[in-house]
Amino acid sequence: MHTLPEEHRHLLELVRGFATTDVAPQADGYERAHEFPRPLFDQLAAMDLTGLPFGAAVGGSELPYRVYLMVVEELSRASLALGMGLSVHTLATWAIDSYATPEQRQLLVPDLVAGRALGAYALSEPGAGSDAASITTRARRDGDVYLLTGTKAWVTHGGVADRYLVMARTGAADAGGISAFVVDADQPGMTVAEPESKMGLWSSPTAQLILDDAPVPADRLLGDVEGQGFRVGMASLDGGRLGIAACAVGLAQAALDVAVGYAREREQFGRPIGDFQGVSFLLADMATRTEAARALYRSAAERRDHASGVGPHAGTPGAGTGYPTTIPSAMAKLAATDAAMQTTTDAVQVLGGAGYTTDYPVERYLREAKVLQILEGTNQIQRMLIGRQLTAPRA
């Protein structure tokens, strides 16, 4: 943090103060109530934190993605549901901002950036998870509207979002036949199912959207072109996965903090358990793994910022050429979420029996870490992307 420019340091101090004073003490309460912490999200909005990486024209702060991710990490350390909430909100907002027509951008993006509206991203379906190109929700043009029919699954913020990015098929049964629509929460013909009953992350609702000939105005076809929905979906995941990596690092750090505190206090055999090498080596590995994951997501973010021409590398060769950063993002997501899984599991171990109870937050962290290895592409899918690139035929 000491190497950051002053304004970024002030931003992170602001976020850390908010996270420790307001978010952390309430995180467990929202979890147990299975309730999305919308008042906390609204506070993020009041602090101008919901549109950090977006352009000034839509009300954003034009910050490097790297700095936005540090904010996500800091929030996730206090509440994964809130940190991931900001990440998913940004994922949806980025997709709309990047692919909208100028009129759509004017109409749909500013209130997402200002956080007055909460965003969501609806790609997965009951029959199409890892194989996202196989979605079957249909969008049929009918005069001034598209009639959408099908079921979108696993939608984070389902039922609490104000605006959904919905992928549906307008053409052939392949990736090129998919289009993206921006659908408001009060869309006639769309209902939200009961939220899924999950292992963890309870205060981040996950629900299906059921579309039954829902008449979505044709001007809500993102970019006013059919067939680019899959591209929109995948391109936004490049940023989204960095968000998940930052979430994972925040979560791992939270687990490490609790484990270290406990190891210094708890005595057995007449000494603090942290004095035993068996415990201190565990802590050392947890800390190193977390720091490695942090370094990886930040370097991936730097490449992304370079590609989009913002940050300290603006003006250097290749900057701003928009080259894809799919692989660094996949690597960061894979490494950080695996690190979070291992670190939260080890944190439970350090706390012994206490770690297995709800008196301490580490059992919750462990349950929360698991989902990060699954969403926005399972870690098998990340490995598939990375491996495919390594073994692709050379041009």
């Binding site: 304004e7 602001l14 103060g17 602090m47 101008d48 950090l52």
Partner: protein, 261 residues
């Protein structure tokens, strides 16, 4: 309306404070400096006056140049301008010396209301607001837990041990607020960014026409001769309940002895 909010730089309330044995003042290097937390309540009240009365708010800080980030921090809540009085001769001022500088700085300003925090978290004298009012010959309304502006007058609920009094005066007036008055919001990121380009006026004692002898360690009416570390905590009395009810009597005796009851 025009509002002035005097703020102070203090050592981080949560940090361990040290006294510098060379000049018997708080060692500013030993702990991080922050905007006095009580000031945040005065700032919040000023921000509310911006919202309700379109108030124009200037933040005033008496302190060394290195305290400028504290002025910017105060501005990040959305205040309009900064005024900093900086002079080597100010170092070591007591409450009255500080009040003299603030009063002189205020004499040059147009204002309807001065909004202080009732005390600073380092010195905790609660003297400065009333002293400034006295020096300026203005009404002093201290310990406000509620504040209302009505045309040319201000009404506060003045907190005391048994509740509060309702006090009204004409403007201009000097008010000090207590923490019960509101719940300060966080600055926004855009507020932080905007604070950098807000006007900030820096004045010296000579600019204000303050004689250096009246302030600083030399002008101080209170002198610190000696200091000691706080004595270590002694073990408390432990009352054990043996089931006979004797513990209750023991507790009652202890409370009587300590004059709690």
């Amino acid at each position: 309306m025009k509002v002035l909010v005097p703020v102070k730089r203090v050592p981080d309330t949560a940090g361990e404070k040290k006294i510098d044995p060379n000049d018997n003042t708080v060692d500013r290097e030993s702990v991080e400096s922050v905007l006095c937390p009580v000031n945040e309540f005065a700032i919040e009240e000023a921000v509310r006056l911006k919202e309700s009365h379109d108030a124009e708010v200037t933040v005033l800080l008496v302190g060394p140049e290195s305290a400028q980030p504290i002025v910017r921090k105060a501005l990040s809540y959305g205040l309009d301008a900064g005024l900093q009085v900086t002079d080597d001769a100010i170092a070591g001022s007591d409450a009255l010396g500080t009040a003299r500088v603030i009063a002189k700085a205020l004499e040059e300003q147009e204002f309807d209301l001065v909004l202080f925090g009732n005390q600073s978290t380092d010195a905790r004298t609660c003297l400065v607001p009333a002293a400034v009012a006295e020096l300026l010959g203005l009404p002093s309304l201290t310990y406000a837990r509620h504040l209302e502006i009505d045309g040319g007058s201000v009404t506060v609920h003045r907190e005391h041990e048994e509740g509060w009094d309702v006090v009204t005066s004409q403007l201009p007036a000097v008010v000090s607020v207590v923490e019960a008055i509101n719940e300060p919001r966080y600055p926004s990121f855009k507020g932080i960014m905007a604070a950098k380009s807000k006007p900030l006026d820096v004045r010296s004692l000579a600019d204000l026409g303050v004689e250096p002898e009246q302030v600083g360690a030399n002008g101080a009416t209170a002198t610190m001769y000696e200091f000691k570390d706080r004595p270590p905590k002694e073990a408390g009395t432990i009352v054990e309940d043996d089931g006979t009810g004797a513990a209750a009597a023991q507790l009652a005796d202890w409370m009587t002895e300590k004059k709690f009851v």
